[in-house]
Structures are given as structure tokens and as C-alpha cells.
């Protein structure tokens, strides 16, 4: 069995590339950053849906001047013992922009560039003033500043370990320099992560003195380990494994997730450009058939791009599995069947099962999928090059603001090949109607929060009605753990996984 004050987790962590907050961009590294670092404002373990004070205790918005002034708390210290100062905040934010690694775009949205960032973020004593450019609502800006790359790092320690002007990037990929509830004490890629509690954490020391994440790729192995009591938590069990877990020693907790799963049609494929095909497709997904069986507990039906349970979500699910209706639609529109297309899918459970279910149900209406399973990297490479035909994939927001998804699903102002965008719309070569593009931008700058959310709901209804993207499900996440484990908090994305409150009774 595991020691009382150590939380042992089995998880597939081979997705980690980098753990420097300015570079980390994978699910698992997001979790680590959350537990190792603090941000000015953050969604916290007590309620991960509420934006709470972090390093800043309070903030003052000046929408006219487009600035927000943050007052820093004075009891926060880094693991190194250095106090967290405004100096560290300036350094951390400008460091992300200057390094310009992948997640930098999140902060760059605020109009920050390597040249101007030192003017945009300024300090006066323990007040940090953040300036932004562009028509954004302050709510959006706060969400951006709560995102992973805005984590505050220990300037003195980081610069001590700088190599070749990398601002400590290499060092931070093997160590941590934060003020968060945990400190990284060991990291072996593809093998294990070890974190020790920060006894001086400003919200109080975590109950667990250590958290150890072991890389266990095989789900069946995770199950065995959990049932044997050699781990406290198994993070990658399949729904069927979860269903068969028995005994009083283990329990399962379910967490709704922000990721949405969709089926999309590349508009470069002629046979998939007819809106009748888009519409028919919405009636050809066996929504409840899947959620009752192969993805039970892992996904629930959701047909709009912003997930349920978050401000601005649109929860209507007008479509059900109705092959007759789909056939009728295709017939009325004079679409010639059979249509033969390839369907790319990540080769892992439950995606291949879902693809096979889609294959079976679409075949009813004469749309024949040839399933092409591939590794994640392989599928994404193809997707990015827009060489796929149909794609079964999912999308998680970059930060918890509806714009993050609106931009991905309802905005594409330039569909040309060389205007590369990471959005779902561009990648499926869908030239979004101008009206919709304009509405997306308008929502972004709307400063009345309620009106803003309403605009997003409207956008979602429009995308739901007609687009080559069939949003089917919203993810949820089941974590199996020992019955004695309490206080595990898992918010809507991997950025919101908190070990701070975990205790073992």
C-alpha cells in the first residue's frame, strides 16, 4: 500500500514535452504548471469555475484606459524562499512574450510584443499594471491572465540558471521555480514526476507531503495497480474498466470537461461541401447509443461549441439519430450517394470505437467512411495540412473564455492556404460567412458581460444549424481512486487539476 502522506498516481504522461510554463502546452504539463505555480488571478481548487485571487489580492479595471491594476499579496514566497515581488511578475509575463514559444499567443492576444511588453506591464511598489490593446472585454483579459503561460516564476532563481540567453527555459524544463502548493522534486520524462508540498503556501500547506505521478501507459496495468492498492489514483481507465471496478476500496469520481468532440468535413473535399450533407450528418450520429455504451461516463451529448456548465453555454440538443430523415434530406437536395470518404481518427480508445459506430450509422444513408487510424501526431499533421477528408477529433479551449472556442468554430476571415490558423474552421477549410466573422469579433469587444454571453449563445446556435462541423459530445472525465482519497479537484480542463486539497483518511 501507499504511504499515508504520499499520493501516488498512475497516469500516461508521455505527452509531456515541456514543463516550463512559457512552453508547456500538453495536458499533463498543464496539470503540473497548475500545481507548481501561481498566477495573478486564478481558478482555484476551492471552486474551479470561479476566478479567484492568486498572487494578486485585488484588481481594479479601467476599461477606458484598457488597464487593470493588480495589488500583490505580501505573504507569497517562492519555494526557494524568495518573496514573490512585482519584479517577478513583470519578468514572468515579459519572458513568455520574449521567448515566443507556443503558448505565447495566448498573452500576445493582448497586443503585447517583445518590443512593447515592458511598457504594457509595469509595476509600482506592489501594484502591477497591465495594459492591453484591442477591443476586448476585461473579463476576457482576466481569463487570459489566469491561463497557464501567465504563471509567475522566480526571477532570481531562473536567471541564475540561464544558459545561452534562454531565460532559464532549459532549466525550467527539468525543475520548478514557482510559489505554488507544490515544488517539483523529480522529473524523469516518460517515467515519473515527483512533487513535494510547499509548507509555506499562502493558502496553507497541502495535506499530502508528496505527490508522485508514475507513468503507466497500459490501462489494464493501471487497473491492476489500483486494485492492489499500490497506487491511490488511476487516471486513464476506460469506461468499461471503471464499470467493472468492484469492492469498497475504490471509488470513481466524474468531472465534466470543457473539451467538445466533433466530426468535421474538410471543405476541400468536393463531396462534403453540400450543406445538405452537413445537415444529414447531424441525424446520422447515434448520440445516445454511444453515450449509453462505448463512451458511457466519458462523454455526454452536447451539440454546441462552448461546453455546458460554463457561462455562455448553449445547451440545446436538437439532433437525434434519425437515418430516415437524413436520407430524406440528402434526397431532397439531390445529393448523389454513396459518398465515399476517409475518416481520420486518433488510434486510441474510445475514438476508434466511436469511428466504427459512425461508420455503421452513416453507412445507412450511403455515406461510407474508410477509417484511417493514426497516432495523435500523425492525425494532427494531416489536419494541419488540410489533407484529410473527414476528421473525428476534439477541441479544448485554450483558456476559459467563450472567445477561445468562438474563434475556433465561428471565425475564419481568410481561408487561403498560406494563412495558417490553428482553428477548426480554417483547418477544415470552411470559409465562415462574413456576418458570423463580424459577430465573433463584436462579442469579443462587448463589455456588458450578460449581453456578451448572449451573443455567444447566438453564435453557437448558428454554427449548430449549419456548418461542416458536427459537434456531438462534451467530455467528462472519470478518475478511479482509493476510497480513502478525498479532496481531489478536477476542473473542466487539465489546467484545473488540483492536488492541494487531497487528503487520505
Amino acid at each position: 500500500d501507499t504511504p499515508d502522506d504520499v499520493l501516488v498516481i498512475a497516469q500516461n504522461i508521455d505527452d509531456i514535452v515541456a514543463i516550463d510554463p512559457a512552453q508547456a502546452y500538453e495536458f499533463t504539463s498543464g496539470e503540473l504548471v497548475t500545481n507548481l505555480y501561481d498566477r495573478l488571478v486564478q481558478y482555484d481548487a476551492e471552486d474551479p469555475t470561479v476566478l479567484a485571487p492568486g498572487i494578486a489580492t485585488e484588481w481594479e479595471v479601467d476599461a477606458e484606459a484598457k488597464t487593470i491594476a493588480f495589488t500583490l499579496r505580501d505573504d507569497a514566497v517562492f519555494n526557494s524562499g524568495n518573496p514573490v515581488t512585482a519584479e517577478d511578475v513583470l519578468f514572468s509575463l515579459s519572458r513568455v512574450i520574449k521567448l515566443n514559444l507556443t503558448p505565447a499567443f495566448i498573452l500576445a492576444q493582448l497586443g503585447w510584443t517583445p518590443e512593447n511588453v515592458d511598457d504594457m506591464v509595469t509595476a509600482d511598489g506592489n501594484v502591477v499594471t497591465v495594459k492591453y490593446e484591442g477591443d476586448f472585454s476585461p473579463a476576457f483579459v482576466l481569463n487570459v491572465l489566469a491561463a497557464r503561460p501567465a504563471s509567475i516564476v522566480d526571477k532570481a532563481l531562473v536567471m541564475e540558471n540561464e544558459q545561452d540567453g534562454d531565460m532559464g527555459n532549459a532549466w525550467l524544463n527539468a525543475n520548478s521555480a514557482g510559489s505554488g502548493p507544490f515544488e517539483l522534486t523529480g522529473y524523469t520524462p516518460g517515467q515519473m514526476v515527483r512533487m513535494a508540498a510547499n509548507e509555506d503556501y499562502f493558502k496553507g500547506a497541502p495535506a499530502m507531503s508528496q505527490v508522485i505521478i508514475r507513468h503507466v501507459a497500459e490501462a489494464a496495468t493501471q487497473q491492476l495497480l489500483l486494485e492492489q492498492g499500490d497506487i491511490d489514483m488511476a487516471r486513464n481507465l476506460t469506461p468499461d474498466q471503471v464499470a467493472s471496478l468492484s469492492g469498497d476500496d475504490v471509488k470513481v469520481e466524474t468531472f465534466p470537461q470543457a473539451a467538445v468532440h466533433f466530426l468535421s468535413f474538410n471543405q476541400k473535399t468536393d463531396s462534403l461541401t453540400d450543406p445538405a450533407v452537413w445537415e444529414a450528418a447531424r441525424y446520422l450520429v447515434d448520440y445516445t447509443g454511444m453515450t449509453d455504451t462505448i463512451i458511457k461516463g466519458q462523454m455526454e451529448v452536447h451539440q454546441a461549441f462552448w461546453p455546458k456548465g460554463f457561462p455562455g453555454s448553449y445547451d440545446e440538443t436538437p439532433f437525434t439519430y434519425d437515418p430516415e430523415k437524413a436520407m430524406q434530406i440528402l434526397k431532397d437536395a439531390g445529393v448523389e450517394t454513396p459518398i465515399e470518404v476517409t475518416l481520420d481518427v486518433i488510434n486510441a480508445a474510445p475514438f476508434t470505437d466511436m469511428a466504427q459506430s459512425l461508420q455503421a450509422s452513416f453507412a445507412d444513408a450511403g455515406i461510407d467512411f474508410e477509417i484511417l487510424p493514426g497516432t495523435g501526431a500523425q492525425v494532427i499533421t494531416k489536419y494541419r495540412e488540410r489533407t484529410h477528408e473527414a476528421m473525428l477529433l476534439y477541441w479544448g479551449p485554450d483558456f476559459m473564455d467563450p472567445h477561445s472556442n468562438a474563434k475556433a468554430f465561428a471565425y475564419n476571415s481568410d481561408n487561403s492556404d498560406d494563412n495558417y490558423q490553428a482553428t477548426t474552421t480554417w483547418r477544415n477549410a470552411w470559409a465562415v460567412p462574413d456576418a458570423m466573422n463580424e459577430q465573433t469579433m463584436a462579442a469579443l469587444s462587448e463589455s456588458d458581460p450578460e449581453a456578451r454571453l448572449e451573443m455567444y449563445r447566438d453564435l453557437q446556435a448558428k454554427v449548430q444549424e449549419s456548418s461542416p462541423i458536427v459537434i456531438m459530445f462534451q467530455a467528462s472525465y472519470e478518475v478511479a481512486m482509493g476510497a480513502d482519497v478525498t479532496g481531489y479537484v478536477n476542473g473542466a480542463t487539465s489546467d484545473f487539476v488540483f492536488y492541494r486539497l487531497v487528503d487520505k483518511e
Binding site: 497500459e218 490501462a219 489494464a220 487497473q223 491492476l224 476506460t238 468499461d240 474498466q241 467493472s244 447515434d286 447509443g289 454511444m290 449509453d292 455504451t293 462505448i294 488510434n347 486510441a348 480508445a349 476508434t352 470505437d353 469511428a355 466504427q356 459506430s357 461508420q359 455503421a360 474508410e370 477509417i371 484511417l372 487510424p373 493514426g374 497516432t375 500523425q378
Partner: protein, 300 residues
């Protein structure tokens, strides 16, 4: 004269009779070996299953029924059902076709390739040998699954590509064997005799050297069938083999492995099928070796 006597006649009147006689003698020798008989029966079973799959299988191999998923073996579903409610027995039955195709194609591609490269290298020797064996060694020391993976990744996933990839990784071993064997008789007097009557190198390699390597190659290939099916299963495990919903045994096991603790039948039933077929080929290969190997067989 009974047909048996005709076959065993010491002085056959025609070439056909001579060849049939040889075949007959080998067959009877093979049939006297109990393990070889078991092997033959299993391989015949595989052939019959592949041929008559639609009549044997009670259900379609791809017909999903999500309400009857993961049922344990029962009278209705002899081997239970899988995660999409498909009848595993039917899938195993249809899967035999794919297995047979894998086995046949690899045997057709890599054995001849290895045979020719090895024979040419062994026959000519010198720098031809050095170059060809250098290439062979490179392929041999490249991790096998990785090479296959890379080729599948390059060619795109799919069962045909998986087979080609496996074939590409399998030939170096055959080439080495064929070369070693060629070396043992390339200077033999019957090969020199052909050169003396004016036979060209190509004629010697194809008409005289290759036939001598073939028998041991047959033996090797049948022995390797197990490995080939398992490599295909390995590729399936890594998702680069057959595309869903094709009932390829390796892919079935690989999908079933997360169920192995609670729904053991999903992975185990196709596993049994693989074991049975591999054993069949191994037994047959062992038997063939005993019959064909002049050192151990009855032929002098």
C-alpha cells in the same frame, strides 16, 4: 500395378511419375509424423475456415449491436461479443482470411526476395557479396518492429501496407540463410559441371542454386509464420495494422487488451486463434524439415 506401386516404382517411366513418386514418398513420411499431421490438420482447418467463412460464421463480422456488447461466451455467442457487440466467433472466422492473406503475401514477397539476394551474394562472392550482405546487415540490425512501423507510417496504415512492411523486415534473415547455404555448394562439382557445359550465371542461380535453397526456405518460412502473424499483431497493437472494422486477429487482441481483466474473452479468443494457427505452421514446418533435410530424412 496398384497406384501405390506405380508411385513407388524405382524406375519411373516419365518425369511426372518421378516427381509424383517423390512427392508421395515425402507425403507419407510427413504423415507418419504425428505433430506434422496435427499441423496439416490445423492449416487445412484455417484454409477451410477462410474459404467457407460466410457459411461458418453465424453473424456478420462487422454488424454492430451496442446493446449486446461484451457478453461472455454463451450458446448464442460461442466466443462472446466484443466492445461493439459483434460476435467474436464470427470475427475470428472472417479474420482467418486476413491471416491467410498476411501469411501468403509475406511468403510470396519476402522469401523470394531473401532467397534471390542471398543466392546472388553467395554465388558470386567478392564485392557483390560484401555489398549485398552489408545492406542485409543494415536491415537486420535496424530494429524490426521499428522498420515495419516506419514503412507503415510512410505508406499509410492499412493491412496491405502492414504486410508489405513485414515482408520488408523479414527478408534479411532469409537472405542470410540462403547465402550460407549457397556458400556450401557454390563450388560443388555439379555446379561446376553446369558451367563447364556453358551455362550462364543466371541459369545457374535460377535453375540450380535456388531449387536447392528452396526446401530449407520452405521450412524456415513455415516456422516463421507464427512470428509473422505476431508481428502483424504487434503492428495492430500499435494501431498500424488492419483498419477497423476489419477483423484482424492482432487488432482484435490489441483492442481487447483493456478488457483482459474483466472481459477476458475479447482478447483471449483471437489469441487462441493465433496460437493455434502458429502452432499449426510450426508443426508443419518441423515436419517438413524432418522430411526435406537430407541429413535427417530417409533420403540419402
Amino acid at each position: 500395378m496398384s497406384p501405390r506401386d506405380w508411385l513407388l516404382d524405382d524406375s519411373p517411366a516419365t518425369l511426372t511419375q518421378a516427381n509424383l513418386g517423390r512427392a508421395w514418398r515425402m507425403t507419407t513420411a510427413l504423415l507418419r509424423n504425428p505433430l506434422a499431421v496435427a499441423g496439416i490438420l490445423i492449416v487445412l482447418l484455417l484454409l477451410a475456415t477462410a474459404l467457407f467463412a460466410p457459411w461458418i460464421a453465424p453473424e456478420s463480422p462487422v454488424g454492430q449491436n451496442l446493446r449486446t456488447r461484451l457478453l461472455p461466451p454463451s450458446a448464442e455467442h460461442w466466443m462472446g461479443t466484443d466492445e461493439l457487440g459483434r460476435d467474436i466467433f464470427s470475427r475470428v472466422v472472417y479474420g482467418s482470411r486476413i491471416t491467410l492473406m498476411i501469411v501468403a503475401l509475406v511468403a510470396v514477397i519476402s522469401a523470394p526476395l531473401g532467397l534471390i539476394i542471398g543466392a546472388v551474394a553467395g554465388y558470386f562472392g567478392g564485392w557483390v557479396d560484401r555489398v549485398l550482405m552489408g545492406v542485409t546487415d543494415i536491415f537486420l540490425s535496424l530494429p524490426k518492429l521499428i522498420l515495419a512501423l516506419a514503412f507503415v507510417a510512410a505508406l499509410g496504415p492499412g493491412i496491405e501496407n502492414a504486410i508489405i512492411a513485414i515482408a520488408i523486415t523479414a527478408w534479411p534473415a532469409y537472405a542470410r540463410i540462403a547465402r550460407a547455404e549457397t556458400l556450401t555448394f557454390r563450388n560443388s562439382e555439379y555446379i561446376q559441371a553446369v558451367r563447364l557445359v556453358g551455362g550462364s550465371h543466371a541459369r545457374i542461380i535460377f535453375r540450380h542454386v535456388l531449387p536447392l535453397c528452396t526446401s530449407s526456405m520452405i521450412v524456415r518460412v513455415t516456422l516463421d509464420m507464427a512470428g509473422i502473424i505476431l508481428t502483424a499483431a504487434g503492428l495492430g497493437f500499435l494501431g498500424l495494422g488492419a483498419q477497423p472494422p476489419l477483423p484482424e486477429w492482432g487488432a482484435m487482441i490489441s483492442r481487447g487488451r483493456t478488457f483482459i481483466l474483466d472481459q477476458w474473452w475479447v482478447a483471449t479468443m483471437p489469441g487462441f486463434a493465433i496460437i493455434l494457427v502458429s502452432l499449426g505452421f510450426c508443426f508443419l514446418g518441423d515436419g517438413l524439415r524432418d522430411v526435406l533435410d537430407p541429413k535427417q530424412g530417409s533420403e540419402k
